[in-house]
């Protein structure tokens, strides 16, 4: 592990830390110790790697997307996290934390989910490792990601629709935190992104950093050099930090995080947290967030449930502030256009989240020119989004021409 950050209290510069009830501080200290001991224990890391390899199907392929490249106007390499078991990068973090849950002797797991990918991955790991599983999901998301609700239930998880606030991911996190304060004795909160109070941002990063570690080695093998840029979508920031972590020291590799621009940044209806650029505290850490003048969280808007979150992990705030990574929004419309583009050129239907990364790549390629090689994290597959896509392209009533 090359990362020197965060510091002992979880700070990435002025970001991160712990802004949570005192009741959770001692449990978070215990979690930090358990995680650090586990990572230093070869039996743990061997078992984690075995599960990733034999169960999740990693290392995921690095795919030279030549047809897409022709249209993009630069060489595009896709890191195929969509081919992992359960269909997204999320399984990496989940297997790490679920194994750690076992090691800590806890028997119950709670999780939040937006798109449902993290919920499905958590339900999967809990079935596999025999843990009780409860997933909190905003009511709005249970409707737009109904397929994943069914998957979680089939896997034996209890799915609790959250009806407070904006009824999306942020409120699911609130509800999971409320559960955890009361249940922390026997329960692990398996947070699904690189956000939250310390140690979550660093722990999640280290469990998902295989994305970038693998892609870096695969790029060297394929190209004989590193790519010119690495691109990922940013919800809370786990697939992006998982991709970036390996490349942060390689300053010649440009890093781009693509945020959800919703109806367009200028309309105010978006989830472009870093682009909006206001520092504050939400869900346990100091980072950028969407907030009003009084520090009340503003509801985010995105066609993508997994990006529809008004906060972002603190390491991204730090990478943005130091200029190491650049963050920019793409609209719902641009993302959906890219979803169709990837389907038509490569026969790959991406998750709408991942389609944001493709849309961002189209813009970035224009700036970097035709000689550039751009590594893109294809964080997940699009099966879960077929209702949304069907509606968007008018496929459902049979009249539309996608």
């Amino acid at each position: 592990m090359t990362a020197v950050l965060p510091d002992q209290l979880g700070h990435f510069g002025r970001f991160g830390g712990r802004f949570l009830p005192e009741a959770l501080i001692a449990p978070l200290d215990e979690l930090t110790t358990a995680w650090q001991q586990a990572m230093a224990d070869k039996t743990f890391t061997d078992e984690f790697e075995r599960m990733l390899r034999e169960y999740a199907g990693t290392p995921s392929l690095l795919y030279d997307a030549t047809r897409l490249s022709d249209i993009v106007g630069a060489r595009v390499l896709l890191k195929r996290e969509d081919l992992n078991h359960t269909g997204a990068h999320k399984i990496r973090n989940v297997l790490g934390q679920a194994l750690l849950t076992k090691r800590m002797g806890k028997t119950r797991v709670i999780a939040e989910t937006g798109a449902g990918q993290h919920g499905v991955a958590t339900a999967t790991a809990c079935a596999y490792l025999d843990l009780e599983c409860v997933v909190y999901m905003g009511e709005v998301d249970t409707e737009r990601q109904a397929l994943n609700v069914a998957r979680m239930k089939l896997l034996g998880a209890e799915v609790i629709p959250v009806k407070t606030g904006s009824r999306t991911l942020k409120d699911a996190i609130n509800e999971a935190l409320r559960d955890w304060v009361a249940s922390v004795d026997n329960t692990h909160y398996l947070l699904g992104t690189a956000a939250g109070g310390h140690p979550f941002p660093a722990m999640v990063r280290d469990f998902v950093r295989g994305i970038g570690d693998e892609a870096r080695a695969q790029s060297l093998e394929l190209l004989g050099r590193l790519p010119d840029a690495a691109v990922a979508c940013v919800g809370g920031g786990s697939n992006a930090i998982g991709l970036f972590a390996a490349f942060v020291p390689d300053t010649e590799v440009k890093l781009y995080g693509i945020e959800a621009g919703g109806d367009g940044y200028e309309t105010g209806r978006h989830a472009a947290t870093i682009t909006a650029g206001q520092v504050g505290v939400l869900h346990g850490a100091r980072s950028y967030l969407l907030q009003d003048e009084d520090g009340q969280t503003i509801e985010s808007h995105s066609i993508s449930a997994g990006l529809d979150y008004p906060g972002v992990g603190p390491e991204h705030a730090w990478l943005a502030e130091t200029g190491r990574a650049t963050y920019r929004p793409v609209t719902d419309a641009a993302a959906m256009e890219s979803l169709r583009l990837l389907a038509r050129t490569e026969g790959i239907i991406p998750a709408i989240e991942s389609a944001h990364a493709i849309a961002g790549t189209l813009e970035i390629a224009k700036e970097l020119g035709p000689e550039a090689t751009i590594l893109v994290c294809l964080s997940g597959r699009g099966d879960k989004d077929m209702d949304t896509a069907g509606e968007w392209f008018g496929l459902i009533d049979g009249t539309g021409k996608a």
Binding site: L9, G17, R18, F19, L20, P21, E22, A23, L24, I25, A26, P27, T164, G165, K170, D171, N174, L177, R178, V181, A182, S183, V184, D185, G280, V281, L282, H283, L289, Q291, E293, D294, G295, Q296, T297
Partner: protein, 275 residues
């Protein structure tokens, strides 16, 4: 403790005055702006009329992770009604002018950070406020608030929990001014039927670390529970039950609950509470 009188601050002095009468103090919570800004002021005044010793005014927040449904709903309604931080400060000002007792604000951290920590401390002091209770700010992250509070002579009430180690209790109590807020249960706010068996040992561990008064909150809802807690704590803190009383009976309901709780904290203790 040599400087115990300064650490007692505003709320601690009021609590000790009650303790000197051989009883626990009653600390009452209601959110500002609920059901409306003026209605909230009336409800809080009813707690004063009913005999509360210290007031906590909640600053409604969009993401109240420490609160159960009763206070969540109240916050949602207050915010939907357009409540602003300036209205919370206005509520403090009106109540402080009405009552000769300490008025604390209980708030999640982000609104204060956004408003400006120094600016909030100055404006709170100017409104006659006594300090802050900060459920999601731990002293480890609280340097800016601690400095601002000290400069403006405001109380800094941090929380201790049944899960806190003795080392954390030591750190937390050393940063408090006014009193120490001991959360009686592992969980969020909300009235509970069962008394907590975690609270008394926590109070004992806290008192071993500090000479400050220790208040116990989370789950206390009636006079019998208040009397139970008053047997070992310096102050009894009641929140959700007041919101429920307001929902059911308006300010008159708040006043009668206050009177009943005030009787509870005055019941004879079998043994005096150690300081």
């Amino acid at each position: 403790m040599s400087d115990v009188s300064t650490e007692l601050g505003n709320a601690g002095t009021a609590i000790r005055k009650a303790n000197d009468e051989g009883r626990a103090a009653l600390v009452g919570y209601l959110p500002a702006g609920y059901p409306t800004v003026d209605g909230g002021v009336d409800a809080i005044k009813a707690m004063v009329d009913g005999g509360v010793d210290v007031l906590e005014i909640g600053l409604p927040y969009s993401d109240p992770v420490m609160d159960g449904v009763t206070i969540q709903r109240a916050a949602e309604i207050a915010l939907a009604g357009g409540l602003r931080i300036r209205d919370v400060l206005g509520t403090v000002e009106k109540v402080a002018a009405y009552a000769d007792l300490p008025v604390l604000v209980m708030t999640y951290w982000n609104p204060i950070e956004r408003y400006g920590v120094d600016r909030f401390a100055v404006d709170l002091a100017a409104a006659g406020g006594a300090g802050l209770i900060t459920p999601d700010l731990i002293p480890d992250e609280g340097a800016e608030w601690i400095a601002a509070a000290d400069k403006n002579e405001l109380d800094k009430v941090f929380l201790v929990s049944p899960s806190s180690t003795d080392a954390r209790i030591g750190l937390t109590t050393a940063s408090c001014r006014g009193f120490v807020y001991a959360t009686a249960v592992m969980g969020v706010t909300g009235a509970r039927d069962q008394a907590s068996d975690l609270a008394a040992p926590l109070v004992a561990r806290t008192k071993a670390a500090t000479g400050l008064p220790v208040g116990v909150g989370l789950g206390v809802s009636n006079a019998d529970q208040a009397a139970d807690v008053a047997a070992y704590a310096d102050a009894v803190i009641v929140g959700s039950a007041f919101v429920k009383a307001l929902n059911a009976g308006g300010p008159a309901g708040v006043r009668s609950l206050t009177e009943s709780l005030a009787e509870g904290v005055r019941r004879e203790r079998s043994t005096p509470v150690a300081r």
